[in-house]
């Protein structure tokens, strides 16, 4: 239903952000939502389209028009239920998703006018937590079947939650000291406060998900042992092998992969450890123009870097959607300015780094040349430049999952190095893969979607084969007698 002409009566209002100059002084989140009235007005802009392109644009298939309407009609409790139908962790997507839904919104045909879906989503889930509407939903039935999930990123956790709610006994194995994977360590606190993850993990625990932290499957325990102990195994280890920069000087101190920097900073902020890599007082150069690079920029600001520069290999995209290349409702390849650059720093496009130089083994300068802006990135003669650089962060994307565990499990990889798992089942009996490990580096929405679909695939497989083959056999007896792996907390 929605509000007739709501999209004409109300303007799009983005989610409010704290002043960039102020927010760089702390690590608290800086994006909020409008007050309830404002959010309802934003929801009133939704037209409940006959063909909701947003819903198609969302990898999770979020029922966007439906919960927009509920918010408009002030039925928040129903809205969170509707939102949770397709999305286990709206508090993650409401903060981290780039919102392809908004790019596909019918109002976005007039560029810049989309319903602020992401903000509404965030408002729904924030309110639901505040009101105490989000409670554990333990399954009333127990199937007695066991599933191991390796990796506690959004894919692993979504998969675990779906399985647990269906009555399966799920154990999640995480090699780091806390759950969340990239979302916990790769995403800065000021974009996502980690207490939110803790709260969600508590819900999972209350739903019966067992979490084993600090255990690196494949290193601390052989993968075969998991296969032996569990009816099914899900690999959700992410795609964490970073793309490197093969230029002279790469080996210098002060040149790091972005993710190493972000992990380190995350540990510093949470007060658990870290501090090995710091940008304080340095000229920082971030190579790579994506979100990871932006997060590095944001952290560098908060550390008090002398300067921050973000450079991108590709040329500068057009300022507005190029219809001939990426017409609505596709994701537009256009110029976007990250939150971090709003806080300060410079950026440049079509830059090919040619070398890094330094003294005493420590990087001091970066040298680059301009390129043609598109493959094969031919260098433009006479554009050589050098800049001072005390910290160089490589944020150029990821190549794929770490190969060791896959090898141990005997899972083949596809051409891009991802786990081969058509419909989530790997060729190895009872072993499944989901998330970035399967599809390669991607968005948090895709991770959740993969986790959910994988859970369904696991259940279907369990129903079809394991139920007969293993359930009630000696395997479970053996497991019940086995020592639980040590917890890392």
């Amino acid at each position: 239903m929605g509000k007739l002409r709501g999209f004409m009566d109300h303007e799009r209002r983005p989610a409010p952000e704290r002043d960039p100059r102020a927010r760089v002084g702390d690590f608290r989140e800086f994006v909020g939502t409008l007050p309830v009235v404002g959010v309802r007005e934003q929801a009133a802009r939704c037209m409940e389209c006959g063909v909701p392109f947003c819903h198609h644009g969302c990898p999770l298939g979020n029922l966007i028009p439906d919960w927009n309407d509920l918010v408009y009609r002030d039925r928040w409790r129903d809205a969170i239920d509707q939102l949770h139908r397709t999305n286990n962790f709206p508090e993650l997507t409401g903060r981290l998703c780039p919102a392809p839904c908004e790019a596909a919104c019918v109002l976005e045909i007039n560029e810049g006018d989309a319903v602020s879906i992401k903000q509404i989503e965030l408002a729904i889930v924030n309110r639901a937590w505040e009101e105490g509407w989000i409670a554990p939903q333990p399954s009333a039935v127990r199937t007695g079947r066991t599933v191991a999930v390796i990796g506690s990123g959004p894919a692993g956790l979504a998969c675990a939650q779906q399985l647990a709610r269906a009555g399966e006994s799920v154990t999640v194995f995480e090699r780091d000291e806390a759950a969340g994977g990239l979302v916990r360590f790769g995403v800065p606190e000021f974009k996502l406060e980690k207490r939110l993850i803790d709260r969600r993990v508590e819900q999972l625990a209350a739903e019966g998900v067992e979490l084993v932290l600090g255990l690196d499957v494949g290193v601390d325990v052989h993968a075969d042992e998991l296969r032996e102990r569990f009816d099914a195994v899900v690999v959700a280890t992410g795609a964490r092998v970073p793309r490197d920069l093969p230029v002279p000087g790469r080996e210098l101190a002060g040149v790091h992969f972005a993710m190493d920097y972000l992990y380190d900073r995350a540990r510093v902020v949470s007060g658990t450890a870290g501090g090995a890599i710091s940008a304080a007082g340095l000229h920082v150069v971030v190579i790579g123009g994506g979100d990871t690079g932006a997060d590095c920029v944001g952290h560098a600001h908060r550390e008090g870097a002398a300067s921050v520069t973000q450079i991108e290999l590709l040329g500068e995209p057009p300022p507005s959607r190029p219809d001939e290349l990426t017409p609505w409702p596709r994701w537009p390849m256009k110029l976007r300015t990250s939150y971090a650059l709003a806080e300060g720093g410079a950026r440049d496009f079509a830059i090919s780094t040619t070398k890094l130089t330094g003294r005493g083994g420590r990087v001091e300068a970066i040298h680059w040349q301009r390129n043609a802006g598109e493959p094969p990135f031919e260098l433009v003669a006479g554009t050589e430049e050098s800049r001072p650089a005390g910290l160089v962060l490589l944020a150029m994307g990821f190549l794929g999952p770490e190969p060791e565990l896959l090898a141990q499990l005997g899972i083949a990889t596809d051409a891009r190095g991802n786990a081969e798992a058509t419909d989530y089942a790997t060729p190895v009996e009872g072993v499944f893969a989901a998330g970035d490990a399967r599809r390669g580096q991607s968005l948090v929405v895709w991770a959740i979607r993969e986790g959910r679909d994988c859970a369904a695939a696991v259940r279907a497989w369990l129903d079809g084969s394991v139920g007969v083959k293993r359930r009630g056999s000696g395997v479970r007896n053996r497991l019940s007698g086995a020592q639980a792996p040590a917890s890392g907390t």
């Binding site: 392109f53 239920d81 045909i109």
Partner: protein, 1489 residues
């Protein structure tokens, strides 16, 4: 011809001209016969001929036995002592002898005596070739009365009837006995009107005399040889159609087991079944009427039972009201347009259906003649000898009693019948009203609400899209755009059984009814209880329970269930089965339920409640429709159906469609308990801001209204006659299933059986039990696309690909689009998706030898989307694009801005729809094609409405209406109530623009092929078969989803029927309905289409994103909106559309190359190039069988499969050519012309061609006022003065028929009787029905009375008349009308603009005026001036005595007038005046002022 493929001869329709002539003195004369035949010949234009122009559809005459003549042929007893059986016998000798012996033996067996046989002489050369080929041998058998029959004339008639029925039953189809009576005799055949008297020389014999003669000329939609189906039948000749036939015939069959008659005694068994199989609706009616009369009721009595007049309490004398109430307990109305002439040889008369949908005009002369005919002017009589003139009125009897020698007034005839018994008392004492039963507590739900909702397949959409609006607005929800989802049989989503049924609707051969504006004829009241012997009458017959609304709330059902008396007893039968039994349990449950029903009846129950309340974890509900229909047909077959009424108590029904289907298959009432409980939930959830009781009451009301709309689509006006009438076609059900449970329902592509239904029920049940905690209802996405939901052909992927293709992506992207669409359609959606091509074995032909795309695109047109539904920008973009490629765009029903007529923005196709918006002579003259829209895919059988806020000054200007005033399109064209009316409109349009091709748009449903054949015979050039899935700017959702069928079936049926009739060659066939790709186009061509229409696809090319908000005026891409701010957002360009069509054509070319066909025209009708795609396993599992669709008709080799030659023009010989020739100087140089001409009723549309000539030369302004003045004398044919152009004045001395002044476009009409007339003009009918329909400007003056629907949809003409029938000024939007005399009922229904002044001498007008939209006010000064002008001109032009009297005492006269003024119009005028404008009327009248 037998049924083959999709053709079924039982679906033919007919309509006709009918007349009778009688002598009041009862004296038999040959002159009666000859003058009746003369009259028949003057009605010839109402009949039709087939492909063989000399073969008529049928003509006949019924007269009293011409004793003097017959006695001259053989030795006969005195009159009354013998009877004559007219026999159609086979030519073949041996069989004929057998049949003759059979007849003779039967005569003997019945105690009568054969006098002898007479060969009826015929002149076979007079008949057409086809008729000759099938001509029977006609012999008359003379039978002498024997035994008691010798002394009792009525007993002899019964004996003759028994002889006939026995012989017919024993013989089978090849014995036809057109009449068998001692009083009357029938001569008829497959002849044209003029052939009749030449074929039967008997008719010319001077001794061949009768005091009465009933004649008929038939127009059948298709011409398969049938001599039997010519009229008159034994007692009636009929012009019209009974829409409720299937139900009436079923109920009649069910009644037979209880028939008993003292008069017939044991003989009754010999005549059953009463209804002869294979008869038409008229024949069936005749069968039943004949039985009722022979069993002792008078002819008027029997007719009053079968065709009761519409009335509200208090309208009629109490005795008559009691008569109708009582007889409603005996028999359901036979409903549909009907002018029925009847006779038993002693009285002769005619009656008209309840809504007055057929014409009938009568006159009585001073020298004892009485004539009635479909038209005035068929009987020459000098004006001074005319004593009285009149017309048939809705529901009224016109009765001539030859024995009494006078015309018996309706009131007297009916009062006599009504007084026979104290019927009113019987009814009052015998019947019980449901609301008078003791109140009971509603039953609580036995199961959690959510579980029940899941078990019955509820979805979130049901709640939000259907139920919430239903209760909130007390109206069915409205949606827009077309239905692009899967057919139910192809859906994976366990659709409910209801969705396999498609509502049938009236098109061409009968009109849909406007259930809102003509609510006076509608009724939802139903009766339950045991019916008794139809042939008797007693107080016990009235023991029926009266239910005011067939949708019962829970407490009402409990009252009903608890009823327990010696009269009423209810039994509840469980309609669930045990889950443990699996799918097989469903059929066993049906058997059990039927057995329990038998048991309950045996135990005395007369109300059977079929209940699925027992649903729960272990019990799964049957589809409620399966249970209902199965019990209904079981009891019909068992002959016990009338012992009880069926009441359905089910959680399943929740929409108009579900309730309509249940009632259509026999339910008298429905208690949708879960829907009602769900409303409570919606209230609790805050989705409805109503009390629960209010929500339920409003939803019940809304479904009732929706139900009326559903039945009115088929032209049915009462629920009892809809009950069991099965006005549905099944799509996707197996024949076996249909034969068992839905007997008689067409189902033409096979489909699922009981097993699959059971699986679907179990799947729903499994979702509910064991339910997941807090389970959600599924979203499904039936109305709006949802990821993972129901398949939609238009989805984010296909829309985005198409838009990218036409903007930047080019043919490469188009190919991705078409592959996606074609693959998806194969996977999930449509019938064409199940087909594949038989590619040429030799690899086809090189692509460059195939006809170029630039030629192919000329066959494409865009759909009829009105300016008004579309923004100006979008509408013009489509027009420009189509003109650039040589295709055609369509104005839609909204007129066209004259500024576009001559440039690139013109639409070649100008639509003529029921609202006639903007249809004036200028619009018509500027068309290349004139399309008569009979129906629209998204809402066939319905009208439309454009709310006032959408009518801005531009739209109002184009539509020739007033800004801010809402506009209503009626469901029917008020000038097309039957096929001969369509023929007349086609003729009118040809006159208005002889150069334009005339097209008729139909919507696919069973029988559309026969309608299309009728269209071809009615002289159209082009027929469009639209699929059910066409788009709309606004329609009730049940119409979008549940009315009409896929075009593949409709087109195939059309092609097969046209080819079998050899009519295909003279008419172009077009199809449309969700066409999207070249593959769709090629399949359409192979199934028989020459041309294709597209609407949604080109809209999408211009930027439509299927918002489905067209009805909300909020289209965010500026297409379906008039909001200036939103219109600015429109980004479509003509190139987008032209690219799309070229891409489609290119895809077509590639397929043609593969098929080995070089020229497109060689694709048309080549069904042999198609075959079912066996690779698609899923639908095979569902039992779909496309062999009927792919059937090549058995026509002689060489019969054209496509249009090869033009129609023969009907125009040569038109009077207008004389007028044009005479007025040449006036036409060319505006030199004033005056002239006088004689005319007759065969001169139709006088002034049409002349107006075209004026407009062609002088444009819309026409000639200066009064340039051409023509006086005409005589009886004018139909459509007198249609679309008369400015500058022409026609004055008719005589009288005019229906549709006078249709579309009047600025000219002036006057009609008055001759000065010599003996009758009082103001008491006599001067013009027929539907006068000034769609008039846009000009003036008209009628001295005398007009018929029904005077000034219907007038938007600007001024008119004066001296009295009108029912529904005066209906839907009027502009102009001034003065009525100087009496009015019928329902005046001003749907009137949103203009003013009427009504002389209300006896101050009763208010009770006959429909004040929903209008107020009755005194006249103000402006009104008085305007009225004076009108009345003065009336006096001047017609010499009206009434006008003279009024003018003589004008001051006093003014006080007796009432002004009828629409609220909307008053407001709009006030606004316009305050805005500084003249504030009046249309752009045209403004310009003229």
């Amino acid at each position: 011809m037998k049924a083959q493929g999709l053709y079924d001869p039982t679906r033919e329709h007919d309509a006709c001209g009918v007349a009778f002539v009688a002598r009041l003195d009862g004296g038999a004369r040959h002159e009666v016969v000859s003058r009746s035949l003369d009259a028949l010949e003057r009605l010839e234009h109402r009949g039709a001929a087939g492909a063989d122009a000399e073969t008529g559809d049928g003509a006949g005459i019924l007269v009293q036995l011409p004793h003097a003549f017959l006695a001259g042929q053989l030795d006969l007893p005195a009159p009354g002592g013998y009877g004559v059986a007219v026999c159609f016998l086979p030519e073949e000798q041996r069989r004929r002898t057998e049949l003759e012996q059979l007849l003779e033996q039967t005569v003997a067996a019945e105690g009568q005596e054969v006098i002898g046989w007479r060969d009826v002489p015929v002149d076979v050369r007079q008949a057409g070739t086809t008729a000759q080929l099938h001509a029977p041998r006609i012999r008359q058998l003379f039978i002498r009365a024997g035994g008691e029959a010798a002394s009792d004339r009525d007993a002899f008639e019964r004996r003759l009837y028994v002889i006939r029925r026995r012989a017919e039953r024993a013989a089978g189809a090849d014995l036809v006995v057109p009449s068998c009576s001692s009083r009357t005799i029938v001569y008829k055949g497959m002849l044209t009107a003029p052939q009749l008297r030449r074929y039967f020389p008997d008719l010319d014999d001077e001794r061949f005399a009768s005091a009465l003669a009933l004649v008929h000329s038939r127009f059948s939609t298709n011409t398969f040889p049938s001599w039997e189906l010519a009229h008159p039948y034994r007692m009636v000749a009929h012009n019209g159609e009974f829409n409720t036939l299937r139900g009436n015939a079923n109920w009649m069959g069910a009644r037979e087991s209880q028939l008993a008659s003292d008069l017939f005694g044991d003989d009754l068994a010999k005549v059953l079944p009463v209804v002869r199989p294979g008869g038409s609706d008229s024949a069936t009616f005749d069968n039943v009427l004949e039985l009722l009369v022979l069993a002792g009721r008078s002819l008027p009595h029997a007719l009053m039972m079968m065709m009761p007049e519409a009335h509200r309490s208090g309208d009629l004398p109490p005795a008559l009201e009691g008569f109708y109430a009582y007889h409603g307990c005996l028999i359901e109305p036979w409903d549909g347009p009907a002018a029925l002439a009847f006779t038993d040889g002693r009285v002769i008369g005619a009656t008209l259906d309840r809504n007055g949908l057929r014409p009938g005009r009568w006159l009585e002369t001073t020298d004892g003649w009485v004539v009635l005919a479909s038209e005035a002017g068929v009987f020459d009589v000098p004006p001074e000898r005319v004593a009285r003139k009149g017309r048939l009125q809705p529901g009224k009897l016109f009765l001539v009693d030859l024995e009494a020698g006078r015309i018996v007034p309706d009131a007297e005839a009916k009062a006599r019948v009504a007084a026979r018994q104290p019927y009113g008392d019987w009814f009052a004492r015998g019947s019980v009203r449901l609301r008078d039963l003791p109140e009971r507590e509603a039953r609580p739900l036995g199961e959690p609400l959510r579980s029940l909702q899941l078990a019955f397949g509820y979805t979130q959409e049901d709640m939000k899209v259907m139920l919430a609006p239903l209760a909130a607005n007390a109206e069915e929800a409205v949606g827009s755009m077309g239905n692009d989802t899967s057919l139910a049989v192809l859906s994976d989503r366990h659709p409910l059984l209801y969705s396999y049924f498609k509502q049938l609707f009236a098109q061409v051969t009968n009109p849909p009814i406007d259930s809102i504006r003509e609510a006076v004829v509608m009724s939802v009241q139903t009766l339950v209880g045991s019916e008794r012997n139809l042939l008797a009458e007693s107080p016990e017959h009235a023991r029926q329970l009266v239910i005011d609304n067939p949708i019962l709330e829970d407490a009402q059902l409990e009252s009903l269930r608890a009823v327990e008396s010696d009269v009423f007893r209810a039994a509840t039968i469980d309609t669930t089965w045990a889950v443990d039994e699996g799918p097989g349990g469903l059929e066993r449950a049906v058997d059990r339920i039927c057995a329990e029903a038998d048991g309950a009846l045996a135990a005395g129950a007369n109300i059977l409640v079929l209940s699925d309340r027992a649903v729960g974890p272990k019990r799964v509900p049957l589809p409620s429709l399966a249970a209902t229909a199965a019990v209904h047909h079981h009891l019909v077959r068992a002959g016990t159906r009338l012992q009880a009424g069926l009441v359905v108590e089910s959680g399943e029904p929740r929409s108009v469609q579900s309730v309509a289907v249940l009632i259509g298959y026999g339910a008298a009432a429905v208690n949708p308990y879960l829907m009602l409980a769900t409303l409570d939930e919606l209230v609790a959830d805050g989705l409805l801001e109503l009390s629960p009781a209010d929500a339920r009451a409003r939803a019940v009301k809304a479904i009732g209204k929706g139900l009326l709309k559903a039945i009115s689509k088929m032209g049915i006006s009462t629920v009892p006659s809809y009950c069991g009438a099965q006005i549905f076609e099944a799509v996707g059900l197996s024949q076996e299933l249909v034969d068992r449970w839905f007997t008689g329902t067409p189902s033409r592509i096979g489909g699922i059986g009981a097993h699959q239904l059971a699986l679907d029920s179990l799947a729903r049940h499994a979702r509910a039990y064991p339910g997941e905690r807090d389970a959600f209802l599924p979203v499904v996405g039936l109305y709006a696309w949802r990821s993972g939901g129901e398949h939609h052909q238009w989805n984010p992927e296909t829309i985005a690909l198409l838009q990218h293709a036409v903007r930047h992506g080019g043919f490469e992207t188009y190919e991705q689009y078409s592959e996606t669409v074609n693959a998806a359609s194969a996977r999930a959606s449509t019938i064409r998706g199940l087909l594949r091509f038989r590619l040429a074995g030799d690899g086809g032909v090189p692509l460059d030898e195939v006809e170029p795309a630039a030629e192919i695109v000329k066959r494409f047109s865009t759909g009829a989307m009105s300016l008004g539904s579309l923004s100006r920008e979008a509408h013009e973009t489509l027009a420009v694009a189509m003109n650039r490629i040589g295709g055609r765009s369509n104005t839609g029903e909204g007129g066209e801005d004259p500024e576009r007529f001559l440039d690139e923005r013109r639409s070649k196709i100008k639509q003529v729809a029921s609202g006639r918006f903007g249809v004036n002579i200028d619009y018509l003259t500027n068309a290349d094609e004139l399309q008569i829209k009979m129906a629209q895919g998204a809402k066939p059988g319905e009208g439309g409405q454009l709310p006032g806020h959408k009518v801005d000054s531009y739209i109002a200007g184009v539509r020739l209406t007033t800004p801010g005033v809402g506009l209503i399109s009626p469901p029917p064209h008020h000038d097309i109530y039957s096929i001969e009316d369509l023929k007349q409109l086609i003729y009118d349009l040809r006159c208005a623009n002889p150069g334009a091709r005339v097209s008729v748009k139909l919507v696919a449903e069973v029988g559309v092929g026969t309608v299309a054949a009728g269209v071809a015979k009615a002289n159209a050039d082009h027929v469009l078969i639209s699929g059910h899935d066409g788009g709309t700017g606004a329609s009730p959702i049940s119409s979008i989803l549940h009315a009409g069928i896929p075009w593949e079936i409709g087109l195939a049926e059309t092609q097969q029927t046209l080819v079998l009739n050899d009519l295909r060659s003279r008419i172009w066939v077009q199809t449309d309905g969700q066409l999207k790709t070249g593959r769709d186009v090629v399949i359409a061509a192979l199934l028989g289409a020459d041309e294709m229409g597209f609407a949604t696809a080109p809209l999408i090319a211009t930027g439509c994103v299927m918002m489905r908000a067209c009805h909300l005026n909020t289209c965010p891409v500026g297409i379906a909106t008039q909001d200036p701010e939103l219109r600015e957002r429109f980004r479509g360009r003509p190139e987008h559309v032209t690219r799309f069509f070229f891409f489609v054509a290119e895809e077509v070319r590639r397929l043609m190359a593969q098929l080995g066909v070089r020229r497109f025209e060689d694709l048309v009708g080549r069904v042999d190039l198609l075959e079912p795609d066996e690779a698609i396993a899923r639908w095979q599992a569902r039992g779909i069988d496309l062999s009927n669709v792919l059937r090549a008709p058995d026509a002689p080799t060489g019969t054209p499969l496509r249009r090869t030659c033009p129609q023969v023009s009907p125009l040569p010989g038109a009077l207008d050519y004389d007028l044009i020739a005479a007025a040449r100087e006036a036409l060319e140089d505006a030199v004033p012309f005056e002239g006088t001409f004689a005319l007759g009723n065969a001169n139709r549309t006088v002034g049409g061609l002349l107006s075209h000539a004026v407009t062609k030369r002088h444009g819309r302004a026409g000639l200066p006022p009064g340039t051409i003045r023509i006086r005409l004398e005589g009886s004018a044919g139909q459509s007198f003065g249609a679309w008369l152009a400015p500058g022409i004045e026609l004055t008719l001395v005589g009288e005019a028929n229906d549709y006078a002044g249709k579309g009047l476009s600025g000219g002036v009409l006057a009609v008055r009787p001759s000065d010599a007339a003996a009758f009082a003009a103001e008491q006599s009918v001067i013009v027929g029905n539907t006068v000034l329909y769609g008039a846009t400007s000009g003036r008209a003056f009628f001295r005398g009375l007009a018929g029904e629907r005077f000034c219907v949809r007038n938007s600007g003409a001024d008119a004066v008349v001296e009295g009108v029938g029912d529904h005066g000024c209906e839907y009027m939007t502009g102009g001034r009308v003065a009525v100087l005399g009496p009015t019928g009922r329902n005046f001003a229904a749907g009137m949103s603009g203009g003013v009427a002044y009504v002389l209300d001498d006896d101050a009763t007008f208010a009770s006959r005026c429909n004040t929903e939209l209008v107020a009755l006010d005194p006249l103000d000064e402006d009104d008085e001036a305007a009225l004076l002008r009108l009345v003065s001109e009336h006096a001047a032009r017609t010499s009206s005595a009434v006008a003279a009297r009024l003018l003589a005492e004008w001051g006093d006269a003014l006080t007796r007038f009432v002004k009828v003024m629409p609220h909307d119009f008053k407001r709009a005028l006030a606004e316009a005046v305050s805005a500084g404008g003249v504030g009046f009327l249309t752009r045209e009248t403004e310009a003229a002022a």
